[in-house]
Protein backbone atom coordinates (compact mmCIF):
# COMPACT_ATOMS: atom_id res chain seq x y z
CA UNK A 1 0.00 0.00 0.00
CA UNK A 2 1.48 3.37 -0.91
CA UNK A 3 2.32 5.70 1.91
CA UNK A 4 -0.39 8.13 0.93
CA UNK A 5 -3.12 5.49 1.20
CA UNK A 6 -1.81 4.44 4.60
CA UNK A 7 -1.96 7.99 5.81
CA UNK A 8 -5.48 8.38 4.51
CA UNK A 9 -6.54 5.10 6.10
CA UNK A 10 -5.17 6.19 9.48
CA UNK A 11 -6.96 9.50 9.28
CA UNK A 12 -10.16 7.79 8.24
CA UNK A 13 -9.92 5.43 11.19
CA UNK A 14 -9.60 8.36 13.54
CA UNK A 15 -12.62 10.00 11.98
CA UNK A 16 -14.63 6.80 12.20
CA UNK A 17 -13.83 6.31 15.86
CA UNK A 18 -14.92 9.84 16.61
CA UNK A 19 -18.04 9.83 14.46
CA UNK A 20 -19.44 6.38 15.25
CA UNK A 21 -20.92 7.25 18.68
CA UNK A 22 -23.00 10.00 17.07
CA UNK A 23 -24.57 7.93 14.32
CA UNK A 24 -27.83 7.45 16.20
CA UNK A 25 -28.11 11.17 16.92
CA UNK A 26 -27.44 11.99 13.27
CA UNK A 27 -29.93 9.45 12.02
CA UNK A 28 -32.58 10.42 14.52
CA UNK A 29 -32.22 14.06 13.55
CA UNK A 30 -32.20 13.18 9.84
CA UNK A 31 -35.30 11.05 10.18
CA UNK A 32 -37.17 13.76 12.05
CA UNK A 33 -36.15 16.37 9.51
CA UNK A 34 -36.80 14.42 6.32
CA UNK A 35 -39.62 12.22 7.70
CA UNK A 36 -38.42 9.46 5.39
CA UNK A 37 -36.07 6.60 6.32
CA UNK A 38 -34.60 6.53 2.81
CA UNK A 39 -33.91 10.27 2.72
CA UNK A 40 -32.61 10.11 6.27
CA UNK A 41 -30.00 7.51 5.33
CA UNK A 42 -28.88 9.55 2.35
CA UNK A 43 -28.69 12.67 4.47
CA UNK A 44 -26.59 10.94 7.12
CA UNK A 45 -24.24 9.51 4.52
CA UNK A 46 -23.81 12.91 2.82
CA UNK A 47 -23.22 14.46 6.22
CA UNK A 48 -20.47 11.99 7.07
CA UNK A 49 -18.83 12.44 3.68
CA UNK A 50 -18.82 16.21 4.09
CA UNK A 51 -17.64 16.02 7.68
CA UNK A 52 -14.80 13.73 6.62
CA UNK A 53 -13.87 16.07 3.81
CA UNK A 54 -13.66 18.99 6.23
CA UNK A 55 -12.34 16.96 9.15
CA UNK A 56 -9.13 18.99 9.27
CA UNK A 57 -11.20 22.10 9.93
CA UNK A 58 -12.79 20.69 13.04
CA UNK A 59 -11.43 22.53 16.06
CA UNK A 60 -10.24 19.99 18.57
CA UNK A 61 -11.75 20.50 21.99
CA UNK A 62 -15.10 21.74 20.69
CA UNK A 63 -18.20 19.58 20.59
CA UNK A 64 -17.85 17.06 17.78
CA UNK A 65 -21.48 16.04 17.91
CA UNK A 66 -22.62 19.65 17.55
CA UNK A 67 -20.21 20.05 14.66
CA UNK A 68 -21.63 16.98 12.89
CA UNK A 69 -25.18 18.15 13.50
CA UNK A 70 -24.35 21.55 12.08
CA UNK A 71 -23.02 19.98 8.91
CA UNK A 72 -26.13 17.85 8.69
CA UNK A 73 -28.37 20.85 9.22
CA UNK A 74 -26.60 22.77 6.46
CA UNK A 75 -26.75 19.80 4.14
CA UNK A 76 -30.44 19.46 4.81
CA UNK A 77 -31.13 23.14 4.31
CA UNK A 78 -29.08 23.26 1.12
CA UNK A 79 -30.80 20.27 -0.28
CA UNK A 80 -34.33 21.22 0.53
CA UNK A 81 -33.97 24.98 0.27
CA UNK A 82 -37.05 25.60 2.28
CA UNK A 83 -35.49 27.03 5.34
CA UNK A 84 -35.51 30.72 4.52
CA UNK A 85 -39.16 30.75 3.59
CA UNK A 86 -40.06 28.78 6.64
CA UNK A 87 -38.01 30.94 8.94
CA UNK A 88 -40.06 33.96 7.93
CA UNK A 89 -43.19 32.18 8.93
CA UNK A 90 -41.56 30.95 12.11
CA UNK A 91 -39.86 34.09 13.45
CA UNK A 92 -41.05 36.85 11.21
CA UNK A 93 -44.06 39.11 11.22
CA UNK A 94 -46.28 36.26 10.10
CA UNK A 95 -45.39 34.20 13.13
CA UNK A 96 -48.33 33.24 15.27
CA UNK A 97 -47.84 34.76 18.71
CA UNK A 98 -47.54 32.22 21.48
CA UNK A 99 -48.49 33.05 24.99
CA UNK A 100 -46.98 31.97 28.22
CA UNK A 101 -49.68 29.79 29.62
CA UNK A 102 -50.73 27.85 26.58
CA UNK A 103 -52.22 25.18 28.77
CA UNK A 104 -54.77 25.35 31.43
CA UNK A 105 -53.86 24.08 34.85
CA UNK A 106 -56.16 21.09 34.47
CA UNK A 107 -54.50 20.13 31.17
CA UNK A 108 -51.10 20.45 32.71
CA UNK A 109 -52.08 18.18 35.57
CA UNK A 110 -53.49 15.65 33.14
CA UNK A 111 -50.24 15.48 31.24
CA UNK A 112 -47.74 15.67 34.08
CA UNK A 113 -46.11 12.43 35.17
CA UNK A 114 -48.58 9.97 33.67
CA UNK A 115 -49.21 6.95 35.83
CA UNK A 116 -48.99 3.51 34.28
CA UNK A 117 -47.56 2.28 30.99
CA UNK A 118 -50.78 2.62 29.03
CA UNK A 119 -51.20 6.26 29.90
CA UNK A 120 -47.54 6.95 29.25
CA UNK A 121 -47.68 5.28 25.83
CA UNK A 122 -50.80 7.17 24.92
CA UNK A 123 -49.31 10.52 25.80
CA UNK A 124 -46.05 9.54 24.15
CA UNK A 125 -47.87 8.90 20.92
CA UNK A 126 -49.68 12.21 21.14
CA UNK A 127 -46.38 13.99 21.70
CA UNK A 128 -45.11 12.37 18.50
CA UNK A 129 -48.15 13.51 16.55
CA UNK A 130 -47.85 17.01 17.92
CA UNK A 131 -44.15 17.01 17.09
CA UNK A 132 -44.77 15.88 13.53
CA UNK A 133 -47.06 18.84 12.98
CA UNK A 134 -44.31 21.35 13.78
CA UNK A 135 -42.33 23.11 11.06
CA UNK A 136 -38.85 21.79 10.15
CA UNK A 137 -37.33 24.59 12.12
CA UNK A 138 -39.37 24.00 15.24
CA UNK A 139 -38.74 20.26 15.09
CA UNK A 140 -35.02 20.93 14.88
CA UNK A 141 -35.16 23.18 17.95
CA UNK A 142 -37.04 20.63 20.04
CA UNK A 143 -34.73 17.83 18.93
CA UNK A 144 -31.52 19.70 19.62
CA UNK A 145 -32.62 21.01 23.01
CA UNK A 146 -34.94 18.39 24.46
CA UNK A 147 -33.70 15.18 22.86
CA UNK A 148 -30.02 15.80 22.17
CA UNK A 149 -29.76 18.12 25.17
CA UNK A 150 -27.35 20.55 23.58
CA UNK A 151 -26.67 23.88 25.27
CA UNK A 152 -28.09 27.07 23.74
CA UNK A 153 -24.60 27.97 22.62
CA UNK A 154 -24.23 24.67 20.80
CA UNK A 155 -27.67 24.98 19.26
CA UNK A 156 -26.75 28.47 18.10
CA UNK A 157 -23.70 26.97 16.38
CA UNK A 158 -25.70 24.16 14.84
CA UNK A 159 -28.42 26.33 13.35
CA UNK A 160 -26.21 29.36 12.80
CA UNK A 161 -28.04 32.07 14.74
CA UNK A 162 -27.46 34.13 17.91
CA UNK A 163 -28.22 32.65 21.32
CA UNK A 164 -31.08 35.10 21.86
CA UNK A 165 -32.71 33.77 18.72
CA UNK A 166 -32.28 30.21 19.97
CA UNK A 167 -34.10 31.20 23.15
CA UNK A 168 -37.07 32.69 21.38
CA UNK A 169 -37.29 30.00 18.71
CA UNK A 170 -37.07 27.27 21.28
CA UNK A 171 -39.71 28.91 23.41
CA UNK A 172 -41.97 29.24 20.43
CA UNK A 173 -41.37 25.67 19.32
CA UNK A 174 -42.14 24.26 22.75
CA UNK A 175 -45.31 26.30 23.04
CA UNK A 176 -46.42 25.15 19.60
CA UNK A 177 -45.76 21.60 20.66
CA UNK A 178 -47.83 22.11 23.79
CA UNK A 179 -50.70 23.71 21.92
CA UNK A 180 -50.80 20.88 19.46
CA UNK A 181 -50.44 18.31 22.23
CA UNK A 182 -53.29 19.83 24.14
CA UNK A 183 -55.50 19.67 21.07
CA UNK A 184 -54.71 15.99 20.54
CA UNK A 185 -55.08 15.16 24.19
CA UNK A 186 -58.46 16.82 24.40
CA UNK A 187 -59.65 14.95 21.32
CA UNK A 188 -58.59 11.70 22.90
CA UNK A 189 -60.21 12.57 26.18
CA UNK A 190 -56.95 12.37 28.06
CA UNK A 191 -57.64 15.83 29.41
CA UNK A 192 -60.65 18.07 29.71
CA UNK A 193 -61.16 20.91 27.30
CA UNK A 194 -60.65 23.79 29.63
CA UNK A 195 -59.36 27.04 28.33
CA UNK A 196 -59.92 29.29 31.27
CA UNK A 197 -56.89 30.19 33.33
CA UNK A 198 -54.76 31.09 30.31
CA UNK A 199 -52.57 34.03 31.06
CA UNK A 200 -51.56 36.99 28.97
CA UNK A 201 -48.46 36.64 26.87
CA UNK A 202 -45.46 38.67 27.88
CA UNK A 203 -43.02 39.43 25.10
CA UNK A 204 -39.50 38.12 25.44
CA UNK A 205 -38.14 41.53 24.51
CA UNK A 206 -39.71 42.97 27.64
CA UNK A 207 -37.96 40.42 29.79
CA UNK A 208 -34.68 40.96 28.01
CA UNK A 209 -34.79 44.70 28.48
CA UNK A 210 -35.62 44.19 32.15
CA UNK A 211 -32.68 41.86 32.42
CA UNK A 212 -30.40 44.39 30.82
CA UNK A 213 -31.54 47.16 33.10
CA UNK A 214 -30.94 44.95 36.08
CA UNK A 215 -27.39 43.92 35.22
Amino acid sequence: MPRKSKKLAAERQLFEVEARPHLDALYSMALRLTRSPVDAEDLVQDTLVRAYRFYDRFEAGTNFKAWLLRIQMNTFVNRYRRASRERQVFDGPMAVPVGEGVMSRASMRGLTDPVGDAQRRLIGREIQHAFDELSDEARAMVLLADVEELSYKEIADVVGCPIGTVMSRLHRARKQLQTSLQKHAVQLGIIEDDDTDIEDPIPLEAFRSRKTVKS
Binding site: P2, K4, S5, L8, A9, R12, F15, E16, L23, D24, L26, Y27, S28, P37, E41, V44, Q45, L48, V49, R50, Y52, R53, T75, N78, R79, R81, E100, R105, M108, R109, L111, T112, D113, P114, R120, G124, R125, I127, Q128, F131, V142, A145, D146, V147, E148, E149, S151, Y152, L170, H171, R174, L177, Q178, L181, I202, L204, F207, R210, K211, S215
Partner: protein, 264 residues
Protein backbone atom coordinates in the same frame (compact mmCIF):
# COMPACT_ATOMS: atom_id res chain seq x y z
CA UNK B 1 -40.19 38.42 40.78
CA UNK B 2 -43.57 37.75 39.25
CA UNK B 3 -45.11 34.38 38.47
CA UNK B 4 -45.59 35.56 34.92
CA UNK B 5 -41.89 36.15 34.44
CA UNK B 6 -40.94 32.86 36.04
CA UNK B 7 -43.38 30.89 33.93
CA UNK B 8 -42.37 32.68 30.80
CA UNK B 9 -38.77 31.59 31.21
CA UNK B 10 -39.26 28.29 32.90
CA UNK B 11 -37.91 26.55 29.81
CA UNK B 12 -34.58 28.33 30.03
CA UNK B 13 -34.57 27.65 33.78
CA UNK B 14 -35.02 23.91 33.28
CA UNK B 15 -32.33 24.03 30.59
CA UNK B 16 -29.98 25.68 33.08
CA UNK B 17 -29.45 28.56 30.68
CA UNK B 18 -30.28 31.51 32.91
CA UNK B 19 -27.44 33.53 34.29
CA UNK B 20 -26.54 32.35 37.81
CA UNK B 21 -28.10 35.29 39.65
CA UNK B 22 -31.42 34.91 37.84
CA UNK B 23 -31.30 31.17 38.34
CA UNK B 24 -31.08 31.70 42.10
CA UNK B 25 -33.95 34.20 42.05
CA UNK B 26 -36.05 31.67 40.16
CA UNK B 27 -35.26 28.96 42.67
CA UNK B 28 -36.20 31.22 45.54
CA UNK B 29 -39.51 32.10 43.91
CA UNK B 30 -40.28 28.47 43.10
CA UNK B 31 -39.71 27.34 46.66
CA UNK B 32 -42.40 29.69 47.86
CA UNK B 33 -44.93 29.38 45.01
CA UNK B 34 -47.01 26.19 44.61
CA UNK B 35 -48.53 27.48 41.35
CA UNK B 36 -45.17 27.85 39.69
CA UNK B 37 -44.04 24.53 41.14
CA UNK B 38 -46.87 22.93 39.24
CA UNK B 39 -45.69 24.60 36.04
CA UNK B 40 -42.18 23.42 36.75
CA UNK B 41 -43.34 19.85 37.31
CA UNK B 42 -45.19 19.97 34.02
CA UNK B 43 -42.30 21.48 32.13
CA UNK B 44 -39.85 18.88 33.43
CA UNK B 45 -42.24 16.02 32.95
CA UNK B 46 -43.04 17.05 29.38
CA UNK B 47 -39.36 17.37 28.64
CA UNK B 48 -38.78 13.84 29.85
CA UNK B 49 -41.74 12.48 27.94
CA UNK B 50 -40.66 14.26 24.77
CA UNK B 51 -37.19 12.77 25.04
CA UNK B 52 -38.64 9.32 25.55
CA UNK B 53 -41.16 9.42 22.74
CA UNK B 54 -39.12 11.26 20.11
CA UNK B 55 -35.61 10.20 21.02
CA UNK B 56 -34.19 6.74 21.33
CA UNK B 57 -34.11 6.12 17.60
CA UNK B 58 -31.34 3.84 16.44
CA UNK B 59 -29.78 4.05 13.03
CA UNK B 60 -30.37 0.96 10.90
CA UNK B 61 -27.64 -1.67 11.18
CA UNK B 62 -26.32 -1.30 7.65
CA UNK B 63 -26.06 2.51 7.65
CA UNK B 64 -22.68 2.77 9.31
CA UNK B 65 -21.17 0.15 7.00
CA UNK B 66 -22.58 1.92 4.00
CA UNK B 67 -21.17 5.30 5.06
CA UNK B 68 -17.78 3.86 5.90
CA UNK B 69 -17.54 2.12 2.52
CA UNK B 70 -18.28 5.43 0.87
CA UNK B 71 -15.46 7.12 2.80
CA UNK B 72 -13.08 4.33 1.80
CA UNK B 73 -14.04 4.79 -1.85
CA UNK B 74 -13.32 8.48 -1.66
CA UNK B 75 -9.93 7.78 -0.11
CA UNK B 76 -9.11 5.26 -2.81
CA UNK B 77 -9.91 7.85 -5.42
CA UNK B 78 -7.75 10.35 -3.58
CA UNK B 79 -4.81 7.94 -3.17
CA UNK B 80 -5.04 6.92 -6.81
CA UNK B 81 -4.73 10.39 -8.19
CA UNK B 82 -2.02 11.49 -5.80
CA UNK B 83 0.16 8.57 -6.80
CA UNK B 84 -0.31 9.67 -10.39
CA UNK B 85 0.94 13.11 -9.56
CA UNK B 86 4.00 11.70 -7.88
CA UNK B 87 5.18 9.88 -11.00
CA UNK B 88 4.02 12.37 -13.58
CA UNK B 89 6.92 13.80 -15.64
CA UNK B 90 6.98 17.50 -16.19
CA UNK B 91 6.89 17.55 -19.95
CA UNK B 92 3.60 16.75 -21.49
CA UNK B 93 5.04 14.75 -24.39
CA UNK B 94 6.44 12.19 -21.99
CA UNK B 95 3.29 11.83 -20.02
CA UNK B 96 1.16 10.09 -22.60
CA UNK B 97 1.97 6.50 -21.68
CA UNK B 98 1.33 7.16 -18.01
CA UNK B 99 -1.85 8.96 -18.67
CA UNK B 100 -2.87 6.19 -21.00
CA UNK B 101 -2.20 3.56 -18.41
CA UNK B 102 -4.11 5.53 -15.87
CA UNK B 103 -7.27 6.23 -17.71
CA UNK B 104 -9.32 6.41 -20.78
CA UNK B 105 -10.14 9.90 -21.88
CA UNK B 106 -13.39 11.03 -23.19
CA UNK B 107 -13.98 14.48 -24.38
CA UNK B 108 -17.47 15.52 -25.10
CA UNK B 109 -17.32 18.77 -26.87
CA UNK B 110 -19.01 21.22 -29.07
CA UNK B 111 -16.91 23.25 -31.42
CA UNK B 112 -17.66 24.75 -34.73
CA UNK B 113 -14.71 26.10 -36.68
CA UNK B 114 -11.37 24.44 -37.26
CA UNK B 115 -8.68 27.07 -37.47
CA UNK B 116 -5.25 26.47 -38.89
CA UNK B 117 -2.93 26.54 -35.96
CA UNK B 118 -3.40 23.62 -34.17
CA UNK B 119 -2.12 20.19 -33.94
CA UNK B 120 0.23 21.17 -31.16
CA UNK B 121 -2.39 23.17 -29.33
CA UNK B 122 -4.87 20.38 -29.59
CA UNK B 123 -2.46 17.85 -28.13
CA UNK B 124 -1.54 20.31 -25.38
CA UNK B 125 -5.18 20.78 -24.50
CA UNK B 126 -5.82 17.07 -24.43
CA UNK B 127 -2.87 16.74 -22.10
CA UNK B 128 -4.33 19.48 -19.91
CA UNK B 129 -7.52 17.49 -19.66
CA UNK B 130 -5.58 14.43 -18.56
CA UNK B 131 -3.55 16.40 -16.06
CA UNK B 132 -6.49 18.21 -14.59
CA UNK B 133 -8.17 14.92 -13.97
CA UNK B 134 -5.14 13.30 -12.35
CA UNK B 135 -4.45 16.28 -10.12
CA UNK B 136 -8.02 16.20 -8.87
CA UNK B 137 -7.83 19.68 -7.42
CA UNK B 138 -10.37 20.17 -4.66
CA UNK B 139 -13.82 21.45 -5.53
CA UNK B 140 -14.49 25.12 -4.89
CA UNK B 141 -18.20 24.65 -4.94
CA UNK B 142 -20.00 21.59 -3.64
CA UNK B 143 -22.52 19.47 -5.43
CA UNK B 144 -25.22 19.75 -2.81
CA UNK B 145 -26.46 23.01 -4.26
CA UNK B 146 -26.62 23.01 -8.08
CA UNK B 147 -27.75 26.65 -8.10
CA UNK B 148 -24.57 27.58 -6.25
CA UNK B 149 -22.60 25.97 -9.05
CA UNK B 150 -24.35 28.10 -11.65
CA UNK B 151 -23.74 31.25 -9.62
CA UNK B 152 -20.15 30.32 -8.88
CA UNK B 153 -19.25 30.27 -12.57
CA UNK B 154 -21.05 33.51 -13.43
CA UNK B 155 -18.46 36.02 -14.57
CA UNK B 156 -15.71 33.38 -14.48
CA UNK B 157 -16.44 31.54 -17.70
CA UNK B 158 -17.66 33.30 -20.86
CA UNK B 159 -20.53 30.78 -21.08
CA UNK B 160 -23.09 29.71 -18.48
CA UNK B 161 -22.24 26.50 -16.64
CA UNK B 162 -24.78 23.94 -15.53
CA UNK B 163 -23.64 20.58 -14.23
CA UNK B 164 -24.37 17.95 -16.88
CA UNK B 165 -26.81 15.33 -15.65
CA UNK B 166 -26.99 11.64 -16.45
CA UNK B 167 -29.78 9.18 -16.47
CA UNK B 168 -27.44 6.55 -15.18
CA UNK B 169 -28.05 6.50 -11.42
CA UNK B 170 -24.47 5.51 -10.60
CA UNK B 171 -23.17 8.80 -11.94
CA UNK B 172 -22.90 11.20 -9.04
CA UNK B 173 -21.94 14.86 -9.25
CA UNK B 174 -19.63 15.79 -6.38
CA UNK B 175 -18.33 19.29 -6.99
CA UNK B 176 -16.81 21.83 -9.34
CA UNK B 177 -14.14 24.49 -9.70
CA UNK B 178 -12.84 27.11 -12.07
CA UNK B 179 -9.72 26.17 -14.01
CA UNK B 180 -7.89 26.77 -17.31
CA UNK B 181 -7.45 24.46 -20.27
CA UNK B 182 -4.69 25.83 -22.47
CA UNK B 183 -5.32 29.55 -22.27
CA UNK B 184 -9.07 29.12 -22.05
CA UNK B 185 -11.16 29.65 -18.91
CA UNK B 186 -12.85 26.37 -18.10
CA UNK B 187 -15.22 24.72 -15.67
CA UNK B 188 -14.15 21.45 -14.11
CA UNK B 189 -17.07 19.32 -12.94
CA UNK B 190 -16.25 16.28 -10.83
CA UNK B 191 -18.31 13.12 -10.81
CA UNK B 192 -18.01 9.69 -9.27
CA UNK B 193 -19.19 6.53 -10.94
CA UNK B 194 -18.85 3.26 -9.04
CA UNK B 195 -16.10 4.74 -6.92
CA UNK B 196 -14.15 6.01 -9.92
CA UNK B 197 -13.69 9.67 -10.55
CA UNK B 198 -14.81 11.21 -13.78
CA UNK B 199 -13.88 14.76 -14.72
CA UNK B 200 -15.89 16.85 -17.11
CA UNK B 201 -14.22 20.00 -18.45
CA UNK B 202 -16.15 22.74 -20.19
CA UNK B 203 -14.25 25.23 -22.29
CA UNK B 204 -14.36 27.01 -25.62
CA UNK B 205 -11.81 26.17 -28.27
CA UNK B 206 -12.05 24.99 -31.81
CA UNK B 207 -8.65 23.28 -31.90
CA UNK B 208 -9.63 20.39 -29.72
CA UNK B 209 -11.44 18.50 -32.50
CA UNK B 210 -8.64 19.06 -34.99
CA UNK B 211 -7.76 15.68 -36.54
CA UNK B 212 -10.33 13.98 -34.34
CA UNK B 213 -12.17 10.91 -35.55
CA UNK B 214 -15.92 10.85 -35.69
CA UNK B 215 -18.57 8.40 -34.57
CA UNK B 216 -22.26 8.22 -33.74
CA UNK B 217 -23.55 6.83 -30.47
CA UNK B 218 -27.23 6.84 -29.63
CA UNK B 219 -27.92 9.29 -32.43
CA UNK B 220 -25.29 11.75 -31.15
CA UNK B 221 -22.30 12.82 -33.12
CA UNK B 222 -19.11 12.35 -31.15
CA UNK B 223 -15.54 13.18 -32.02
CA UNK B 224 -12.73 11.26 -30.42
CA UNK B 225 -8.97 11.07 -30.24
CA UNK B 226 -7.18 7.81 -29.64
CA UNK B 227 -4.46 8.51 -27.18
CA UNK B 228 -2.08 5.67 -26.38
CA UNK B 229 -4.80 3.06 -26.36
CA UNK B 230 -7.33 5.30 -24.65
CA UNK B 231 -9.83 7.61 -26.14
CA UNK B 232 -10.87 11.23 -26.21
CA UNK B 233 -14.43 11.78 -27.39
CA UNK B 234 -15.92 15.08 -28.37
CA UNK B 235 -19.56 16.01 -28.56
CA UNK B 236 -20.66 19.36 -29.93
CA UNK B 237 -23.03 21.49 -27.94
CA UNK B 238 -23.69 25.19 -28.10
CA UNK B 239 -20.14 26.17 -28.99
CA UNK B 240 -18.74 24.81 -25.72
CA UNK B 241 -16.49 21.78 -25.31
CA UNK B 242 -17.55 19.23 -22.76
CA UNK B 243 -14.40 17.34 -21.93
CA UNK B 244 -15.05 14.17 -19.99
CA UNK B 245 -12.23 12.16 -18.50
CA UNK B 246 -12.49 9.03 -16.36
CA UNK B 247 -11.05 5.66 -15.52
CA UNK B 248 -13.77 3.90 -17.43
CA UNK B 249 -13.77 1.80 -20.53
CA UNK B 250 -14.30 3.26 -23.94
CA UNK B 251 -17.78 1.90 -24.51
CA UNK B 252 -19.04 3.24 -21.19
CA UNK B 253 -17.50 6.65 -21.83
CA UNK B 254 -19.09 6.83 -25.27
CA UNK B 255 -22.44 6.06 -23.72
CA UNK B 256 -21.99 8.71 -21.04
CA UNK B 257 -20.94 11.21 -23.67
CA UNK B 258 -23.95 10.49 -25.81
CA UNK B 259 -26.46 10.48 -22.96
CA UNK B 260 -25.22 13.46 -20.97
CA UNK B 261 -27.79 16.21 -20.66
CA UNK B 262 -25.75 19.32 -21.21
CA UNK B 263 -28.43 21.96 -21.68
CA UNK B 264 -27.70 25.53 -20.75
Amino acid sequence: MSCKLVRRHLGAFVDGELDPATQIEFERHLEACPGCQEHLAFESSLRRQTRESIGGIHAPEHLWGRAVRRLAELDEARAEHTSLIEVRPMRWRQTWPIAAAAAAILIIGGVVGLPESAEYQSAGMLQDVVNLHSQALPSDVQAEAPQEVVRYFQGKTPFPVQPATFEEPGMKFIGARYIRVGAQPAAALYYIRDGRRVTLLLFQSSEIVRNAQRTHVGGRELYYHDVGGNVVTIRQHGGVNYAFFGDLDRRVLFQLAANARVAH
